[in-house]
Symmetry: C2
Subunit: 325 residues, 2 copies
């Protein structure tokens, strides 16, 4: 099975590539080749004997999607996107990449489907940003996507296209709304959600961290390993019973900031917790308080998607992985 | 107030034009001018002293939307669409007109908004076709749009764009998901829903009609007058409390085919009912049984949208209007 990863240079794309290569297979098939595409050239994976093509390309340019499909990948992971803040700041860029890029990809697949019967599995990453206020405390699979950002609108439109192109038989698509990734590896960033990981990652590395919101804030999390696990699980599923609801909210762990801090205390003691400085930030608070707190993900559960076991398990996994790298 | 109607030659567009001209006003403002656009040239309204421009144009062509906005209409009724069956049979045409045409319109408004602060009220007609199986018996305002047709997907994408362009302040939009129109005037057509009107309209004119589904089929209806009433009401509303949920399912009457026939019996007697011939059609039945039966429209109710009083009232209105025309 040849696999295409669009957005292969991102945090999830890099981890997904490494896990595919380590497993040597995808679903029930041996991994025979990889096409890795991103706007910056993705790294060539080490220790893989199959065919690898690495390409820097912008999917919203004419012909880019067709070129990415040269090897007729049986599985397409479509992770490529302009992130939320950027899509809000540059409306044209967000619509061009997140909407037009996705539509051009699906149209390129349709062209091959009509000419030669090509019909790949497409795994599309959507986002909790499709949901907007007012929200119930627990959001079910039937709840209306009503985004409060252009990024959320573009992802919701991608979900609709994925369902229509699947219904018409051009591709066999599944969309995954990933929980907020925690603990996100790497350096602190400017994202409004950054502190959810920062208050764990920085103290664990002996560094100070800022907490801009009250301890009572609750949110929905998955580890990086759970997120790539969802993508790999989605690649091998039988989707024939999904009907037109092709995008599923992924299971996660709903915890408060206070519970995050208690997990940190259990894992690394009082001295780590003491590195968190409370610095209330009304701007971040106003953004965060519109976000979802918890989901009832029974459609995903029924398909065998499984959340991290606990927030302690999320933290333990992060500690083990930081020590390895 | 200058008013633009896109899709002015259609059944709803013609009626809306006539009602605007008859009222001489829209919301709290006098009607000063009309721009009427459709792919076929709309009729010039009689008895109106204001400025009228009539144009045949395809909104999905470059420049067509900007030309339609020449008079900077304070209200834009966007009714233009390729209908469901056509959008399903010709995928490219449906996406070009229903998605790209809508997006080009909103982009043309955005251009004027950024250059000169233009910000019209946009009243967009969406459809119950945004909803797909599985459906609850009564569908609330929070229920997920998961369309089972390309037309439904295109309308749901239009709803999302309307919300995003409204949130960003380029336009002040409201979308209306209209109930199935009954009694639809004119000749029988090939639409799967045609019989809902046909079993009333034809017998009332002394003509036979075919009923292809069981009497137990239940659906959601509004009279043509209620539908144009919703559009006119939407034109004058204060929408500042709507948030990102800019599209509302309109109130209707939920009745079964049996209840339709009882209303016909009360209005026109046994001889009219005897003109209905039962001819079960499994193809039509399979389509109809995926359709919604009833809605809880409290968001629309709270904004003062009011359904027809009863199915008898729908029928009485049709009879009165047919005698006038």
């Amino acid at each position: 099975m040849h696999v295409l990863i669009l957005g292969a240079a991102g945090m999830i794309g890099r981890r997904l590539t490494a896990e595919l290569v380590a497993a040597g297979r995808v679903g029930n098939d041996p991994l025979t080749g990889l096409t890795l595409v991103d706007v910056v050239p993705p790294e060539r994976p080490r220790g893989f004997d199959g065919a690898v093509r690495v390409e820097a390309a912008d999917l919203s340019r004419p012909g880019a999607a067709a070129a990415a499909l040269t090897e007729r990948p049986g599985i397409v992971f479509h992770l490529a996107a302009v992130v939320s803040g950027e899509a809000e700041a540059d409306m044209d860029l967000g619509y061009r990449v997140n909407l037009d890029g996705t539509r051009l990809l699906f149209e390129a697949i349709r062209t091959l489907s009509e000419s030669e019967g090509y019909r790949p599995r497409v795994v599309f990453t959507s986002s909790l940003a499709v949901f907007g206020q007012p929200l119930p405390p627990v959001i079910g699979d039937d709840f209306i996507p009503a985004p409060a950002s252009s990024y959320g609108v573009q992802k919701a439109m991608g979900e609709l296209l994925l369902a229509d192109y699947s219904r018409r038989g051009f591709l066999d698509g599944i969309g995954l709304r990933l929980p907020t990734i925690c603990v996100r590896p790497g350096k602190p960033n400017k994202a409004a959600s950054g502190f959810f990981s920062g208050i764990l990652r920085e103290p664990l590395a002996g560094l100070p961290a800022v907490l801009p919101v009250p301890d009572t804030v609750r949110h929905w999390f998955a580890s990086p390993g759970a997120a790539t696990g969802f993508l790999l699980h989605a690649a091998g599923l039988d989707l024939s019973d999904l009907g037109t609801r092709r995008t599923l909210t992924m299971p996660g762990i709903s915890v408060t900031v206070a519970e995050e801090i208690e997990a940190l205390r259990r894992a690394a003691g009082e001295s780590a917790v003491a590195l968190i400085r409370r610095e209330p930030n009304p701007v971040i608070m106003r953004i965060i308080e519109t976000w979802p707190e918890a989901f009832d993900t029974r459609a995903a559960n029924a398909l065998g998607f499984v959340a991290d076991a606990s927030f302690d398990a999320i933290l333990a996994r992060h500690i083990a992985e930081s020590q390895r790298s």
